[in-house]
Homo-oligomer: 259 residues x 2
DNA sequence: CGGTCACTTGATCGTCTTCAATACCAGTGG
DNA sequence: CCACTGGTATTGAAGACGATCAAGTGACCG
């Protein structure tokens, strides 16, 4: 979390969008160079420190945002301290769609961030001239929707072990070509955030990690490093086929194995 | 549930989209009359009986759909019988966005339905000629996203009482102008579907209904009729301020407000 | 009527939460 | 070098909420 963002070079300042590292990742990639030049004129770049929020749930939704660097957590809160993280937003992510007149969630930096801000009105005008951008936005929203539905299944129907397995698999596929995954992970968020994302408490997260390690499905390093040891078994878990689950064993036949 | 759909008149058959009852509700309303005429040429109207599904999770996503009449439940399933309903789709609802190459959910009729089906390719071509339709689609997706995030908070962090209160309030605002709500409801779905939507079991749904009635917050009629008696208290509940919750009151600190 | 189906109610059990103590780790200053 | 500190993670014991299993009720319909 002490990692610093690269400082913009003078050239970056002169052509802020053309040289943006996140350009290829997000909706901005839909714009031609002249489009980007115009985009640069209507945007404001803001630096956000750890723990600081740049979108507040309930505030009038006047702006759109694009993450240029760093990661944010997006969450909703109840009147007491209960909180549900609905997702994490990394470089290229477009934010502000999920808003009627007011923002539906809060966005807070979990590491140092650079974020581009646009007035909604100005961006809408830009979209009229560059319909490809609107198409990209629709694709982005659809993908968010697919992810949200998967998360609903997780929150509504999965056990703690299944939730964590599912989450780890998702992380291991982050930014990988379809069908591939990496084994070594460095989770960017704390146990607390993980709990708020998976609908569990810190303690349950911790216990479940420990148990998965004891079962040799994963290995745990320092600084939130995780190594996936048994991908197959983890995938079984995430799909709801839990061998040691002791969930509705509608047998009475053999194989009533305790954990 | 024995209610029948109105049979299309000869005039309806000749001008299927122009006379559609759902036209004003959904994305089709974005089209001018000539646009609708063209829409009519690329669509197929299908009748769906109760319990029948017209979108299957995992199937290749070749079509878009618009609900013309009736209601569908949209859900995802785990390998055992666990199931999470991600939403209900009524007249005017556009379906098929939440799909990459394959559909992300199953859609099944909870009452007799009439559904319009479009080849994705044909509809995309239509959207290029009528950009307003694409804008509507983006709005629809954004609204779905807001709803999905609210549901995540519900599934991840709310108690059974809070979930049901929140759901009833949502129903009471269905199709009402902003800020208003109705007191008399007729729920279109069974207890089982309600459980699968709220991440609870049938029994818990039933018990929670009974308890809310005992507390004079609602009244229950036959045929899934519900009357809201104490709107204020129900709203308190849905926002997480539960008087009889006996949940951890971290008081002894006077107003330690964060953010 | 007997049948089915959806819902309700009751008793018991398990998973996750809550509360609490301890371990760990990096940074600071004696 | 080591105690002190604050934050984060782990572990333990007890409790609660909702799930599970099981029985009972009521409506609808042949």
């Amino acid at each position: 979390m002490t990692r610093q963002l690269a400082q913009p070079t003078p050239h970056d300042v002169a052509h802020p969008c053309l040289t943006c590292a996140a350009r290829s990742l997000g909706v901005c990639g839909a714009l031609s160079d002249p489009g980007l030049a115009r985009l640069a004129t209507i945007k404001t770049v803001i630096e956000v420190a750890v723990g600081q929020s740049f979108i507040a749930e309930g505030d009038p939704a006047t702006c759109f945002f694009v993450v240029a660097a760093g990661t944010a957590k997006l969450f909703k809160e109840l009147s007491d301290d209960r909180r549900q993280i609905t997702g994490f937003a990394g470089p290229g992510q477009f934010l502000g769609l999920a808003a009627t007149d007011n923002y539906a969630f809060t966005a807070e930096a979990i590491g140092p961030m650079r974020v581009c801000r646009f007035q909604r009105i100005a961006l809408r005008a830009l979209m009229d001239d560059f319909p490809l951008m609107e198409k990209r936005l629709l694709t982005a929203a659809s993908d968010d929707l697919v992810a949200a539905q998967a998360q609903m299944l997780l929150l509504g129907r999965m056990t703690a072990r299944e939730r964590l397995a599912s989450f780890l698999l998702g992380q291991s596929r982050q930014g990988m070509p379809a069908g591939t995954s990496r084994r070594q992970l460095r989770l960017p968020m704390s146990r607390g955030d993980l709990g708020d994302y998976l609908g569990l408490t810190i303690e349950t997260i911790s216990r479940t990690f420990t148990r998965l390690r004891a079962e040799n499905l994963i290995d745990l390093g320092s600084h939130n490093a995780v190594t996936i040891l048994d991908l197959t078994e983890l995938e079984m878990l995430a799909h709801g086929c839990d061998v040691r689950a002791l969930r509705p064993v509608n047998n009475n036949t053999a194989l009533t194995n305790a954990s």
